[in-house]
Homo-oligomer: 403 residues x 2
Amino acid sequence: MNYDDFARLGLSIDMTRGKPAPEQLDLSRGLIDEAGTVGHLSRDGIDCRNYGHLLGLPEARELGAELLGLSPSQVAAAGNSSLELMHDALSFAMLFGLPGGEPWRKSAKEVAFLCPVPGYDRHFAICEALGIRMIAVPLGDDGPDMDFVEAQVAADPSIKGIWCTPLYSNPTGTIYSEDVVRRLASMPTAAPDFRLFWDDAYRFHHLTERRHASPDIVGATLKSGYPDRALVFASLSKVTLAGGGVAFLASSPRNIDWWQRHVSVRTIGPDKLNQLRHVRFLRDRAGLERLMERHRALLRPKFDAVAATFEAMLADARGVSWSTPQGGYFVSLYTPDGLAKRTVALAAEAGIVLTPAGAAFPYRIDSRDTHLRIAPSFPSLADIELAAKGIALSLRRAIDERK
Amino acid sequence: MNYDDFARLGLSIDMTRGKPAPEQLDLSRGLIDEAGTVGHLSRDGIDCRNYGHLLGLPEARELGAELLGLSPSQVAAAGNSSLELMHDALSFAMLFGLPGGEPWRKSAKEVAFLCPVPGYDRHFAICEALGIRMIAVPLGDDGPDMDFVEAQVAADPSIKGIWCTPLYSNPTGTIYSEDVVRRLASMPTAAPDFRLFWDDAYRFHHLTERRHASPDIVGATLKSGYPDRALVFASLSKVTLAGGGVAFLASSPRNIDWWQRHVSVRTIGPDKLNQLRHVRFLRDRAGLERLMERHRALLRPKFDAVAATFEAMLADARGVSWSTPQGGYFVSLYTPDGLAKRTVALAAEAGIVLTPAGAAFPYRIDSRDTHLRIAPSFPSLADIELAAKGIALSLRRAIDERK
């Protein structure tokens, strides 16, 4: 089949966002069906129907701590979105300052963030909204280019942080190496209030039998004498229910105190009933890992289909490559220079909606125009097979057009 | 019984916060017990287990609109806390500016808010945290002193807003008159981005058979040519489950667009499953009003007990008065000048913990030291009867000490 034949199929497949498929959400059916049996009293006799417990239900904090390998006092269990926690941490830093620093809004020079690219568009959107200047950092096979990072943060006190998705990065699937993590934890920074914004979004989202471990960044920063450097974010949205889970913030006691101080002005507490339901449903880390195995069984064939189709249809295309992630929610497809936008446009004409080209870069500028983010989780396997074919045909057509 | 006898009873009663009692929370038992029967599909076939719907589930927005007497397009259904919405609206104004205005952080002069007093301590805490200068406004029987308000806002462009709890104000029970509402909606303001922060927290929280109606402030501002002036906040926390309900933001289309733009950076959407449960449980305004009748049946005897005890024990005390609210969650007790702090201290020694004196004022300064906020909702009726007695004895002792 060529591109024109494919386009005539009149498909409509949405591959724009990393959403779980309905079959994945069905795995947490018990969370909904058994909700009526959970009641309202926590293990400790806390009435989860009433106000309070700003940092979350104690047993939800304990679950988060077990999942993240930290102490419950270092973990806040919050609402339904870790993105909110990242946004609010940056807002608080802008408005009020981090421990040991001035409010960023009072900085003489515009504050800046390092952004490994390709990266998560919603991270970059927060920086852009807050007027935080974004500096793109090349992302290698083992994490951000640390020579570049170290030189930048050592020289410029206006650089206040770096976005890190240490395991199965969105959208490249990158796994940070131990050496990269050690260097991030121990590098000297000109800004005393420099922070690692550590989005551990895919900590349990393995696609292979090998369960790569997220690095213990809080421990690493403590060991290297920068105990307050890491703010760790995690979420159950892609474990149980997307937008209906529980989000966690984990860090040093000093940062948690800071968080509590500012959050106490904003709310009286999170929805403890949803936290209670989650604790009862997941129970512990082993329970979560069993659930993630079932996610893997549903997701793996979709990623395999993308890889097999690209291998069959694009292996001989010069300048084309793609990631074969061992976890997470995305595949990155690289076109020859200057063809990503055209490929997205051709795919759209053929009924396949992709994330806009450039979305994975600060200010949406992929200067070489080569990167496509592909989200194979939501559509059915049959649709993924079709879509991968359509994407490959669109890319080949884009290449042909230039000949 | 005198104060010393009372203190020897060794009681421990917490009257600090406006929390619903367990019996009130039991009224929404169905929301928990029947949660398993709600499923995950909305009326419109939306899978509430997945991401999206930034401004809330359509039927939750419709319920909010019915409750607030507005169109669903003017209502956002959000998370579990209206306080969060107020905080975020102020944060967004500070960081990004309101429609038609510069970011407040860039204002040459410190921005200011009018704060009718006594008022809600958490409103004032947000202003204090954000560095918004608070100007106390006397609160009369029919709302804020409008001659004062009009003169202030007309003269000073740095005054960006006023906190209003229009019905059964916290903590005075004040009901804003039609004339006050009309003047708030139509007064000229020097700041083009002036806003009424309209906390409609007690819209359905009647204590008498007369259901006072919250004024239609969005309609009133539209009529007077200031369609973007009001930001309305409401919450189901004191209707169903405290901290487990659904909060609403309502305003003009322009303000809702503004809200959506900034919230889209912060989150992918609210917990739609909790919104779905609430829609199914409450059904409509009539369903909510039936539920509120049952709240009233539980709350009214507690407020009556406070009023009866104060009447019996304090009617002859010179310079002492108290509010007899027709709705809401609080009673205000006024001591002779300079005795509020001492009364709180004496009550604490007698085992009754009250909100700190001054809490209802900006910067916690009640210059005359006369106001006590009493929250009779949470303790049992028997405890309320005892506590009211203890408070009255403490106040009489404070008066006696000064003789």
